[in-house]
Symmetry: C2
DNA sequence: TCTGAGCATATTGTATGATTATATAGACGC
DNA sequence: GCGTCTATATAATCATACAATATGCTCAGA
């Protein structure tokens, strides 16, 4: 999930400030200390701090102007689909309703992606999906399962041949990764969703978009039911 | 559409290099000149160049390592959903199939968004949708129309109360903005899609998710047909 | 009193030079 | 041939100086 490289100093600074902002410790509208003092507080040079600020600015989190200072921007300007912003959000104890929003996104584009994949994927992409499926089948514990599961869904998204779609993987799916495990654990049998995946894979292989769509839809609805414990939405959600 | 602030020098540099990379003028795997010489070529200081590099790196376009230099990363690592990356892509004469991908995204999440909005939106959000609709109705030329049209779709996305969803607006919709105009022009009457918008608005107001979904779906299918001139996909696309 | 031009000032923006850390490749010994 | 050590090129970090730019205040003039 980590995108911003924390090996570098400015990477650390970026994360540190990013988390503070996204978690709400620094509120929108608030003006940060001036570069010199902030750099001193964080024990880095102004250069490193500024490079971090540039990144945060590119993510829509802050806005800097001469004389007035650097201000935390309103949430509506944040690049919510940025992997870092999302990760920082997840790091700061995501409230249940945020997870819900992620799931909501999945419910929307994953079935559509399955349908697209059934139409458009080539042989090698299909092979990738199969490999992931076989890995799920062969998994011996829930950790192995989780890895293969993510691999499967990524392969499906890539098979759409729409890079915007696949980008949603690194954003939404990865953020949900930990919850997949959770979902698998709650059901007792971590392989409980294997038949669904089989259906999706088969439908894509046979070039049956609508079948693939429905299978994926059912899978997700079921996963949600498992996660939330009881709540179950209608199929149209 | 512009996100990266081009007022600043590093903003210019970011855009300049970003376009060069996304347009393919600088190819993945290629290693850029060292900071000193590149800064010299662009007639800026190393400071400005580095801040630009930091941003490009955050967008997944480049990767810098000591001793080896700064390398353009493979396309699969690019943050395709980043507004700048998208804008740069559109700036460099997007091939028709890329526009097609954008439309594909729209087809997937806009109907879903309309359904969500019908379920979840509050009074003030509904008011925003109405205002946008009225503005479309009152528009006297295709430019006014285009603005109001975008406003309408943004209002719908915001009314989902899912900020991930609304973020898709600034990304996908804005990129498509120019094509809306195109679509409206081709049809002769730029207000041709007003009835569709009315249907969507009414359905949301009456809390009819499925009606809203279908209306939005028809609108988009129609817009695509108008844009591509003839091609028409089945409703399930 | 109100208005507007202009000046003072605080803060970010840009530039430069020096030093440090790091990864690569080549030399050297085994 | 193979690993280790060293040289070196490059980015990373730091420190400092100066420029550009908003903001708000002062003060002249109506």
């Amino acid at each position: 999930m980590r995108v911003t490289n924390a090996r570098n100093l400015h990477g650390h600074v970026t994360q540190e400030l990013g988390v503070r902002i996204v978690s709400g410790q620094l509120r929108p509208g608030e003006i940060l200390p001036r570069e010199e003092t902030l750099a001193e507080q964080m024990a880095v040079s102004r250069t490193a701090l500024r490079e971090a600020m540039r990144v945060l600015s590119a993510k829509g989190l802050v806005e800097a102007r001469p004389k007035v200072g650097t201000r935390v921007r309103d949430e509506r300007y944040w690049h919510q689909l940025d992997a870092d912003v999302l990760a920082w959000r997840c790091a700061s104890m995501p409230p249940a309703d945020f997870v819900e929003k992620l799931v909501q996104m999945r419910e929307i584009f994953e079935p559509a992606a399955a349908a697209l994949a059934a139409r458009r994927c080539d042989a090698s992409q299909l092979k990738e999906i199969e490999l992931a499926y076989l890995a799920m089948e062969a998994s011996r514990n829930s950790d192995e399962w989780a890895v293969a599961d993510l691999q499967f869904h990524e392969a499906v998204l890539i098979a759409t041949n729409n890079e915007l779609m696949s980008s949603l993987f690194s954003v939404v799916e990865t953020a949900l990764g930990s919850f997949f495990v959770q979902s698998a654990r709650k059901s007792g049998d971590f392989k409980y969703s294997l038949p669904y995946h089989r259906q999706v894979f088969d439908a894509i292989r046979r070039k049956q978009p609508e079948v693939a769509r429905r299978a994926m839809q059912q899978m997700i609805v079921d996963a949600r039911a498992n996660m939330t414990g009881k709540r179950r939405t209608r199929k149209s959600a």
